[in-house]
Subunit: 176 residues, 2 copies
């Protein structure tokens, strides 16, 4: 091996290692994990407010719902990304597993309530949340994972591997 | 009161009673109820096949899934309509209740797997199934009920009170 070639190989190796380190560093900085009961104090509810109405959840209501969801274990998982620097939850999304008779007693993952903090956009946190939830659905034996989104967000989900399948219909109850 | 008026009132009353009886009769003929474990023998799985793949569900698989769903009680309900004359299940649909943090710890009903036997169309059985599932979601305190459908079926769900809200995206896992 010539010295020139050896230097090129070493440089390439070091560059790869350095890229890997940077990626690890990013992933450590924005670690993804399941929701914890202490996350209410880390701005989890305020984050949800960026997506829809969520302006009056008491500590008791939060804890009751947390325990209710924990009781079903892997059938309902909420992923969060915490910014280690600020100690704030800056991205979240949930997936729950529907058990069917259809598709030979198949299972479907339903992704809901995906939101990234407005100050933390452009860091691919949304994609990491979707990957986390999708992989959970796959590991649970689902034959598909589905979600509903606005037409504006279609392109993002297409980048995550999703395709438009049908239309979503909703009926709102007036008394809520 | 003149005799003529009296006769008119009596006729109107009898006509109403007779209409009511006919309606009751139809409702008795096509009674709606929750899925029972004996419904596999009444063509429930064959009915699902009219909607999507469902060609190999053993008795044990059916019973296991039935018990799994029964364990969550009102959080997952499957409605069926049985034709009393033939003893066959001719319409079905399911609804499960998603518990959120969003919308102040709100709940959402998800309607899935609605199908009416091809030989029983035109009897408004689909609408009765949807009403049954929607009313269940309302009684469970949901703030909305949602479903995904093809563009062709939009008009039917609009007649049931639904409106298009967004688009449904799906990701299928190759290993299923």
């Amino acid at each position: 091996m010539t010295e020139k070639l050896f230097v090129r190989i070493v440089r390439k190796f070091e560059s790869k290692r350095s890229n890997g380190k940077m990626q690890n560093c990013e992933e450590q900085k924005y670690g993804i994990r399941k929701l914890e009961i202490s996350d209410k104090g880390k701005g989890f509810i305020e984050l949800l407010q960026q997506l829809s109405v969520c302006d009056s959840v008491s500590d008791k209501e939060f804890e009751d719902r947390f325990r209710e969801l924990s009781a079903v274990g892997d059938d309902h998982v909420i992923g969060v990304i915490e910014d280690e620097a600020s100690g704030k939850i800056i991205a979240t999304g949930s997936v729950f597993i529907e058990k069917k008779f259809m598709r030979n007693c198949g299972k479907v993952g339903h992704i809901e309530d995906v939101v990234v903090d407005s100050s933390a956009r452009g860091k691919h946190l949304g994609k990491r949340i979707i990957n986390f939830l999708t992989e959970h659905a796959r590991s649970m034996g689902c034959y598909k994972v589905i979600l509903d989104c606005s037409v504006e967000n279609k392109a993002f989900y297409e980048k995550c591997g999703f395709q438009q399948k049908s239309v979503q219909m909703a009926l709102y109850f007036a008394d809520h």
